[in-house]
């Protein structure tokens, strides 16, 4: 557990820095990819990984601290992503990319809908059609495009941290 946290903080910290400085500037219409969400989805889908919930909590708090969105939105959104990933990891493990795409698609939708409802309820009314067409759909597409490389990188990281046990 300690090793997982020790790895989570620098990896997710770097991901947040990349997200705010580079990934967030690559826009499709008004949508942007969410690197942290992709990392959490890929991490949660690794069979041997434990403590994915800790990664979700750390990521939610980190991004919630940086963003103008209330911290609980990202915390809940990322925990939903991790939960979904853990659920699918035990069911469709034969098709990891399919599971990655599913978690990315639904996770992005859930997180952005949570953000939309939070802003609509507590700050100002937003036109849903506009938000869906200009932000939510393009963000989902960008996340799906980045899903494969992020999954490959995180799988390598997981294999290094949790090597397969050799049965003699």
């Amino acid at each position: 557990m300690r090793r997982s946290i020790l790895v989570a903080i620098p990896v997710l910290g770097l991901a947040v820095m990349l997200q705010t400085s580079i990934v967030g500037r690559i826009n499709l219409l008004n949508g942007a990819a969410d690197l942290v969400l992709l990392i959490l989805a890929a991490w949660g889908l690794q069979e041997r990984v434990r403590n994915a919930w800790i990664w979700g909590t750390v990521a939610g708090l980190l991004v919630g601290f940086v963003s103008g969105v209330p911290w609980y939105v990202y915390l809940v959104g990322y925990l939903v992503v991790v939960g979904m990933a853990r659920l699918l990891a035990h069911r469709v493990w034969q098709a990891p990319l399919l599971a990655m795409f599913t978690v990315t698609l639904i996770g992005t939708l859930v997180l952005l809908m949570l953000t939309y409802f939070d802003r609509s309820l507590f700050e100002m009314s937003l036109a849903f059609n506009l938000a869906f067409a200009q932000i939510i759909l393009p963000s989902i597409l960008l996340n799906l495009l980045l899903a494969i490389p992020v999954h490959a990188l995180i799988r390598d990281l997981a294999n290094r941290l949790y090597p397969a046990e050799v049965v003699s």
Partner: protein
């Protein structure tokens, strides 16, 4: 029996033979022989010279190749360093130009105190239009301080930590700025949107709004200082059955290219929330 010529006769005969040979040579009778001999000599010379050079090349070229490769590698490293320097200097020139423009703006508006800041990030959420700057409370930055560039109003400080701050841009959907149209002195409300477009709302139906009107902050509400440039009207929507006119604004600042900003540090925003009447029980 021994026959012998006198010595002088021998000399005469040799001289005559020599003269005869010279005469034949001058007459061109030896040319075929001379050219055959010359060609043979040149061919031999060429063969020897070529073989010598080949042997010399064989012995010296490998050493030269190695030194050339080493030199090439050194030059490639030097070129890479120079290219890095060029890029660095180009970046510095760009930064200097931007900072120079900001200094000009500060000189033109001496009533305010400024702190320059660099944009180091964007908000992770695509729903929000916030930027993160590299100065914070340690540099005297407080929430609510207006942020500008030499082109005009950018937004205001939303949250502050020791060495960084988050700035809400005026293009954010939750942003609202009291503005006025310079030509008609008409008051209006500038609002952002999820797409980053700016529009004017709450313009009186009686006001004359035309395309090209310059939009400035009015200072009403106490959130922003007055007379900061915002942009220009690009289209107007006036419908008889609506209470107010609306207009689309082209901002003067390019919000996609924000690099350096100025925070106005001597402007204290006024919190008018306690003055707003709330409905009684």
């Amino acid at each position: 029996m021994k026959t012998s010529f006198p010595r002088s006769l021998q000399t005469v005969i040799i001289a005559l033979v020599a003269v005869g040979l010279v005469a034949l040579a001058l007459g061109g009778y030896f040319n075929p022989v001379a050219s055959w001999f010359t060609r043979l000599t040149i061919d031999a010379q060429t063969w020897i010279s070529t073989r010598y050079l080949a042997v010399t090349d064989f012995l010296t070229v490998p050493r030269d190749l190695a030194s050339l490769r080493q030199r090439n590698a050194e030059l490639e490293v030097e070129v890479a360093q120079l290219q890095t320097q060029v890029i660095d200097l180009q970046q510095k020139v760009t930064e200097t130009n931007i900072l120079s423009a900001l200094v000009d703006f500060a000189r033109a508006n001496p009533e305010y105190s400024y702190k320059a800041a660099a944009v180091i990030g964007l908000d992770p959420s695509p729903f929000l239009r916030y930027v993160i700057i590299n100065i914070g409370s340690n540099q005297g930055i407080l929430p609510g301080m207006p942020v500008v560039t030499d082109k005009g109003l950018v937004g205001r400080v939303d949250a502050v930590i020791a060495e960084a701050a988050r700035v809400q841009l005026i293009t954010d959907a939750a942003s609202a700025v009291n503005v006025r149209l310079q030509s008609s002195d008409t008051e209006a409300m500038l609002v952002g949107s999820v797409t980053g477009d700016l529009s004017l709302d709450l313009i009186s139906q009686d006001a004359a709004v035309t395309v090209g009107d310059v939009v400035l902050t009015s200072g009403l509400g106490g959130s922003y200082p007055p007379n900061l440039l915002v942009g220009q009207v690009v289209s107007v929507r006036k419908l008889d059955y609506e209470l107010f006119q609306q207009a689309v604004i082209q901002p003067n600042v390019d919000f996609n290219q924000l690099g350096f900003l100025l925070v106005i540090t001597n402007f204290a925003p006024v919190d008018i929330a306690p003055l707003i009447a709330t409905p009684g029980p």
